[in-house]
Symmetry: C2
Subunit: 293 residues, 2 copies
DNA sequence: TGATTTATATGCAAAAATGCATGTATGAAC
DNA sequence: GTTCATACATGCATTTTTGCATATAAATCA
């Protein structure tokens, strides 16, 4: 009796996805294929792995156990891939870099250009996202992150110390300077709960006027004078029409880090990339630290 | 980039087998399929996994690392199968039992007959061999073994205490009894190095006349008067024409055990089988202990 | 040296797996 | 209630994988 390991993998993705369609999308196959692999495996094992409810496939206890085995197998798979990447020539293959979207244009793009000039045959894959991609999975090889997310398998190096300040349109900043009793209309991200504590000393009248789920949109709103926002120095200073609100002082913020998986610490491609990335950010460090008004 | 786990498995079997043909035989596919899976994987990884010498496929470092990952995955596979067997109904599926060949006919056959009567829908697979099949792999579910091979994952119960004695044809036994100074011509298995120490007190003149690689052949030789052999009680006493050599006393020997994997300790099918096996051997215990002459 | 065994390589046909199109059912939103 | 989105089932054509037959090379042995 032989079990097809691809079928075991399919069970995992069906359990994780919850429906044939999602599992198929993740696996890169048609969803009918998922259904057929499952039924093939169920026949081979002579055991039901999923209850076929109208709402979708629900894993039985046996199905969950199969998924558990698949997870263990996937760990081997991921570990293997890291080894193979580490063993590869520095000048071939593919490198996936993830970074916060707003860092890509002004900074990472130049690093990539330089790296590409030095290693023209390495394909570069950019994933501009704030979500923490899992470096344990082969979702990305190098991550640039604000704050040093702790994970025992990852190694990190600090790229730049960072500060934030309060930015507004020039007009609004002037108005606030003129009238310390004015009410500050703060703009923040969705998860913001209250105005910055340090600001209340100077402007006790404060309210959160608008919340945004997107940093670019928020910046646009600041440019248009809708209110004041606390922004990283490198963003506020580089955005046309924004100035620091006087009186409110900059504050230290989470630093910028580069993270890689421990297994890839010495991989030629990774070190080659870092050798360009780190000096570049060191040179740009003043932009992240900024200056007080 | 997606790696086919069946291809990874194939690498493992090619590394273990050393040639396409052997790997294919183990995997149950044509050897050309093995060759094509390997080249497909090498292309996908953009790395050479084997050096194609005329003498066969020799794994590169990367190939060995792939095999290592496959080994880890296979452990998951085996563990999963044990779980699934343990979860199965006692009255369905397949049960693989391994035992020393000479125990099968006189003892195990009856146990199987009784088990089959109680559970007619369970397929029974007998592997009559002295080689220690690996119960960690799904090579066998239940092993009957002489001696309790220690393995942390296995659980064992003693089926019977056992003794050995010195057997010969009736004629030869008589001759030896008449002449204590006679030279005993011993018959033994290939790995025998010297006559039984205890026998030298009574018959100091001793030599190993013939060695055999097969126990049945050895017994045949004893029947034909070629010499004296130390045999388990249950064999010597049950063989036509053999008698214990007087004077030489029986000795304790390795006991007979039944072994199963710890994961299957409570599996319905396994316990059902043991519930028949153990009482049967308990009843037959005197045959394994035997009697002194 | 010549026969035999054990390797791998490859063209071609059979078999298996997959994708697509279509049909049906269910629950949520309006 | 009607519409829409989502989910599964299945027949059919296509693609992919596999097995078989055949060819070739190296090593072994009489």
């Amino acid at each position: 009796m032989n079990i097809d390991w691809e079928d075991i993998k399919t069970v995992l993705y069906l359990v994780k996805g919850g429906s044939l369609a999602k599992a198929g999308a993740q696996l890169g196959v048609n969803y009918t294929t998922v259904a057929r692999r499952i039924s093939r495996l169920e026949n081979a094992l002579d055991q039901q792995l999923f209850l076929k409810a109208k709402a979708g496939y629900i894993a039985t206890e046996a199905g969950l156990r199969v998924a558990e085995a698949a997870e263990g197998m996937e760990k081997q798979d991921h570990s293997l891939r890291r080894y193979l990447m580490a063993a590869q020539e520095p000048s071939t293959g593919l490198l996936t870099v993830t970074a916060p979207p707003l860092l890509v244009g002004p900074y990472l793009a130049k690093v990539i250009k330089m790296f590409n000039a030095a290693h023209p045959n390495v394909g570069i894959n950019i994933r501009a996202t704030n979500s923490t991609l899992d470096l344990n999975k082969p979702e990305a090889d190098i991550a640039i992150r604000v704050s040093n997310t702790p994970d025992e398998n990852l190694v990190g190096q600090r790229l730049a110390k960072q500060r934030v300040a309060s930015f507004a349109s020039a007009e609004l900043a002037q108005a606030l300077q003129d009238d310390p009793g004015a009410t500050i209309r703060w703009l923040g991200m969705t998860y913001w709960t209250s105005p910055p504590k340090a600001s209340l000393k100077h402007y006790p009248n404060a309210e959160i006027a608008f919340r945004f789920d997107d940093m670019s949109a928020l910046i646009g709103a600041v440019q248009n004078g809708l209110g004041v926002a606390r922004l990283p120095m490198f963003l506020g200073n580089a955005t046309n029409g924004l100035v620091q609100v006087p009186i409110l002082q900059p504050q230290s913020y989470w630093d910028i880090w580069v993270l890689t998986h421990n297994d890839l610490r010495t991989a030629p491609k990774i070190t080659a990339f870092k050798e360009i990335l780190i000096p570049y950010f060191k040179k740009k460090a003043p932009e992240f630290w900024g200056e007080a008004v």
